[in-house]
Amino acid sequence: MTKQEIEKKVELIKEISGCDPYKCMKCGKCSGSCPAFNEMDVKPHQFASYIVNGDIESLVSSKSLWKCLTCLACIERCPRSVQPGKLIDAARQLVERERGGDYLHAEDIPELLDDDVPQQLLVSAYRRYRR
C-alpha cells in the first residue's frame, strides 16, 4: 500500500468505527475481557496501535477479523471509549467491501448446516462474514 492509501484506510477505519484510536492508554482491559483472545493473532489491545502506526496491512490480513465474536465486552469495559470491537469491525468492513473479501461463501453453507441451526445463526454469520 502506498502512504496515501494507508492514510485513506486509517481515516476510513476511524470514520466507520466512530472511535479515536489515540485515546487508547494500553491498559489491556479489552484483552483481559476478550473471550476469543486465544484465537486471535492480533490482540484487542493492539488494534489501536496498528491503526495509529498505519500498519493496516497486517491488521486487515489478521485472523482476528474473523475471530471476534462481537460480544461487546471490550466495548462495554473500555475505560477510554476506544472500543476495540468497533475498530476491528471497521477493519473487517474494509476487507469485505472489496471483491473477494468474504469469509463465508454461499456454496459452503449446506455443509455447515445441521437440523437445529437457527435462522439467526445463518443471518448473523452471513452478515458478519461477508458483504
Partner: protein
C-alpha cells in the same frame, strides 16, 4: 472627554510573534479619546511602567488602556502604576491580546485585526469610566477549618501556633479523617495512628483551637475578613462535659451484640452499637447516639445506656444547636472518599466478600481493626495465600463510569500493602495488575522497587477484564499480561481493588455556600494552578488536602502548612481594601420588587422607603439599597433587575453595551 493613552505590549514574542504590535499602535491612535499610543517589549517591567508614568505626566492622560496579557495576570500591576502617577487606578482597562488573541490565533493578520478590536472595546469603555474609591473593611481574627482530617488538623495547628484562634468543624463524631483508618503510611511505614493521634490530642488541647465535631456548616454569608458562618452542632445525645469516655454505654448497648449496624469507620467489615465512638482513640472521646438506629429513639423503649452511665451523661432530650460565628478566613479541608463500585460489576465487588477495596484492606491489617490486624478472607476467615491487586479501578476513565484523573496514591499504597503482607506472611503470593506504576516523589520509586526486588511482588502490566468467583470459594482473575501478550487466568484467594478517589460528597454543597468554584470532578479550583495553589478564586477561602485534588499524606501536610501561612497573612492585617466595583441602585427606576435581593448571594441588598424626586415624580417609595461592604460586585442583581435600576460600578450596563457595540462596529 477623556485623554487616553494606549500601551501595547510585545510580551517578548508571546504577543509580537502573532500580532503586528506596531500596526495596532497606528490604528488605535485615531480612536475617540486617544491622545497617545506606544508599544514596548515588556510593559510590566520596571522600564515599561516608567514609560507609562512618563506618558501620563507628559500628555496629561486621564485614562489608560493596556493591551497585554489577561487582567487576571497584571491588572493589579498596571493599576498600581497608574496610581503612582496620580491617576485613579480604576481609569485603567486591560485589553487581553495574549491569552484571548495571540495565543489562540495562527494567522498574523487575523490576530492583529482582533487585537485592534479588543483595544477599541477597552478604549470605548475607558471613555465612560469614572474614578472609583476603594473602601476599607475590618478583619475578624479567627479562622474556620471545614474538615478535621490530617489536612484540617495540620492547618489548624499551624494557624493556632501563629497565635490566631481557629475552629474546626467536623461532620463525624471524631476528628482524624481517612488517615485514622489507615494502618501504616508510605514511604517510611510509620504507623498512621502513632503519628496522627498525638496531633489529634494537640488539637483538642490547644488553647487557640475550638472543635465542633458531629457538626456541619449550614450557611455562610459575608465576605473576606468578615464571614458569618452558621454551624449546626448535631445532637450527640451525650453531654460532652459530663462524659468521661469510659465506654460502658457502648459495651452494654443491646444493638452492639445484634450486629446489625455496619461500622462506617470499619467500612462495614464489622458492626457497632447505636451509641458509639468511631474508634478507640477518637477525639473527643465522647460517644454519640445514632438516632436512626437507636431502639430508644425508634420505639421509646430501652434506655439502657442512660441507666448504666456512671456520670449520667446520656441525654435523649438534647437537640441540635445552631451557632453563628464570625471568621476572617475559611479553609476547606473536606478530604476524599473512594468511588462507589456499583458500575464496575466485572470485578465482582458486590458478588464476593473476598473482593475488597484498599481502604477495607487497611482496616483488615490494622491492629485495631475488625480482625485485630490478622489478614483474613471475609467469606471463610481463612488467611489468603494468594492475593491479586488491581490498579486504576475507575481512575483514568474517559467515560462517566469513572474519573478522568489519576488518583495518585494507589501505586504507592499498593506497594505498601504488598510489602506489609509479605512482611507478616512471607509465603503469600502477590500479583499486582497495573497500567503504569507512577511513583514520583522523594524515596517513592525506591519504595516500589523494594516491593519487586526484595519482596518479589509480581507486577503484571495489564488490566483485569473480569473477576470470576468459583464454586469452591476461590476467585479466578481473568486479565492480560501485555508484555507477554498472553491472557491470564489466575486463581486467587483475595482481590484488592484500588478504587479511584473522589472529593467527599458534601463538598459541592460547601463550595456552593462559599461561592468557591469546583471543577468538573468536584475538586475545588485554585486561584492559579501554579502561583496560587492553596487559595480559592473567592477571596478569603483557602484549600487544604484532597479537597483540592488527589495527594498523599506528605503532600497534604505541606499544603496544609501553606494554606495556614496564607490564612495567617490575611488575619495579620487589621484592614482590607474593599472592591469599589459594587452595585448601585438608581431609585428613579427601582420598583422595590425584591428580585435583586432574592438573587444576591451576599445578602448585600436591603430596602428602605426613600423620597424619590425627578421629572414628574415626587413620592416616597420602597427602593433597594446596596451595602458596599457586603457587595462583591458579582453582577447577579444587575442582570436580574427587570427595569435596569441596578447597575455595577466599573462594569455598568452602558460600559458593557458600549464595548459590545464597538466590537460589532
Amino acid at each position: 472627554m477623556q485623554r487616553i493613552g494606549v500601551f501595547v505590549c510585545h510580551c517578548g514574542t508571546n504577543i509580537a510573534a502573532t500580532v503586528d504590535v506596531k500596526k495596532v499602535v497606528e490604528l488605535v491612535r485615531f480612536e475617540p479619546g486617544v491622545v497617545f499610543a506606544d508599544d514596548y517589549m515588556y510593559m510590566c517591567s520596571e522600564a515599561g511602567q516608567e514609560k507609562i508614568i512618563a506618558a501620563i505626566k507628559e500628555h496629561d492622560l486621564t485614562g489608560l488602556v493596556i493591551c497585554s496579557c489577561s487582567p487576571r495576570m497584571h491588572e493589579k500591576t498596571f493599576r498600581a502604576c497608574a496610581e503612582k502617577a496620580g491617576l485613579n487606578p480604576y481609569m485603567v482597562e486591560v485589553a487581553n491580546i495574549r491569552e484571548q488573541c495571540s495565543w489562540i490565533h495562527k494567522d498574523r493578520e487575523e490576530a492583529t485585526e482582533k487585537a485592534v478590536i479588543l483595544a477599541r472595546a477597552a478604549i470605548a469603555k475607558v471613555n465612560l469610566n469614572t474614578p472609583l474609591q476603594e473602601g476599607e473593611s475590618p478583619v475578624t481574627k479567627r479562622a474556620l477549618i471545614i474538615g478535621g482530617g490530617i489536612a484540617g488538623i495540620q492547618t489548624a495547628l499551624d494557624i493556632a501556633d501563629a497565635g490566631y484562634e481557629v475552629d474546626i468543624v467536623e461532620r463525624e463524631p471524631s476528628i482524624g479523617g481517612r488517615m485514622s483508618q489507615f494502618d501504616k503510611t508510605f514511604p517510611t511505614l510509620d504507623c498512621a495512628s502513632c503519628i496522627l493521634t498525638p496531633k489529634m490530642v494537640e488539637v483538642n488541647q490547644h488553647p487557640n483551637i475550638t472543635l465542633y465535631t458531629y457538626s456541619e456548616v449550614e450557611g455562610v454569608s459575608g465576605y473576606v475578613g468578615n464571614f458569618d458562618v452558621k454551624i449546626r452542632k448535631k445532637a450527640r445525645s451525650v453531654d460532652m462535659s459530663a462524659c468521661t469516655g469510659c465506654g460502658e454505654c457502648q459495651a452494654k448497648c443491646p444493638l452492639g451484640k445484634m450486629g446489625k449496624i455496619p461500622s462506617e469507620f470499619d467500612r462495614g467489615l464489622r458492626t457497632r452499637p447505636a451509641i458509639y465512638m468511631p474508634f478507640a482513640q477518637a477525639v473527643p472521646a465522647v460517644p454519640v447516639i445514632d438516632r436512626e438506629n437507636c431502639t430508644y429513639f425508634k420505639t421509646g423503649k430501652c434506655g439502657v445506656c442512660a441507666k448504666i452511665c456512671p456520670s449520667k451523661a446520656v441525654n435523649y432530650e438534647q437537640e441540635d444547636e445552631i451557632v453563628t460565628v464570625k471568621y476572617g478566613a475559611i479553609v476547606v479541608a473536606t478530604g476524599f472518599d473512594i468511588i462507589n463500585l456499583d458500575k464496575f460489576g466485572e470485578y465482582a465487588y458486590n458478588e464476593s466478600p473476598d473482593v475488597i477495596t484498599s481502604i477495607e484492606l487497611e482496616r483488615l491489617m490494622n491492629a485495631s481493626g475488625p480482625t485485630g490486624g490478622h489478614l483474613e478472607r471475609m467469606s471463610d476467615h481463612k488467611q489468603p495465600k494468594d492475593i491479586v491487586f488491581i490498579q486504576c479501578v475507575g481512575s483514568r476513565c474517559d467515560d462517566e463510569k469513572g474519573k478522568p484523573y489519576c488518583s495518585k496514591v494507589c501505586c504507592m499504597y499498593t506497594a505498601k500493602h504488598a510489602m506489609l503482607i509479605k512482611d507478616h506472611w512471607p509465603d503469600t503470593n502477590i500479583t499486582v495488575f497495573y497500567i503504569d506504576v507512577r511513583t514520583p516523589g522523594k524515596n517513592f520509586d525506591e519504595f516500589y522497587r523494594r516491593a519487586v526486588e526484595q519482596y518479589h511482588v509480581n507486577y503484571v502490566k495489564g488490566q483485569v477484564g473480569k473477576v470470576i468467583p468459583q464454586p469452591d470459594g476461590s476467585l479466578l482473575v481473568q486479565g492480560v499480561d501485555l508484555l507477554d501478550n498472553k491472557q491470564i487466568m489466575k486463581k486467587t484467594d483475595m482481590v484488592v481493588l484500588a478504587a479511584a478517589v473522589e472529593p467527599n460528597k458534601g463538598v459541592r454543597k460547601i463550595a456552593t455556600m462559599l461561592t468557591a468554584s469546583i471543577d468538573n470532578n468536584d475538586f475545588l479550583t485554585e486561584a492559579h494552578a501554579k502561583l496560587r495553589p492553596v487559595e480559592s478564586p473567592t477571596a478569603g477561602i483557602f484549600l487544604s488536602g484532597m479537597a483540592q485534588g488527589p495527594k498523599d499524606i506528605p503532600e497534604t501536610v505541606s499544603q496544609a502548612g501553606a494554606a495556614a501561612v496564607k490564612v495567617v497573612g490575611l488575619l495579620a492585617k487589621d484592614k482590607l481594601k474593599t472592591n469599589p466595583c459594587t452595585a448601585k441602585c438608581d431609585p428613579m427606576f427601582c420598583n422595590g420588587c425584591s428580585t435583586c435581593a432574592n438573587v444576591c448571594p451576599y445578602g448585600a441588598i436591603t430596602y428602605e422607603d426613600q423620597q424619590v424626586r425627578g421629572p414628574g415624580v415626587n413620592e416616597t417609595r420602597r427602593v433597594a439599597v446596596v451595602n458596599n461592604a457586603l457587595c462583591q460586585g458579582c453582577g447577579a442583581c444587575t442582570s436580574a433587575c427587570p427595569s435596569g435600576a441596578m447597575d455595577l460600578q466599573g462594569f455598568s450596563n452602558r460600559q458593557i453595551t458600549t464595548e459590545v457595540d464597538s466590537i460589532c462596529r
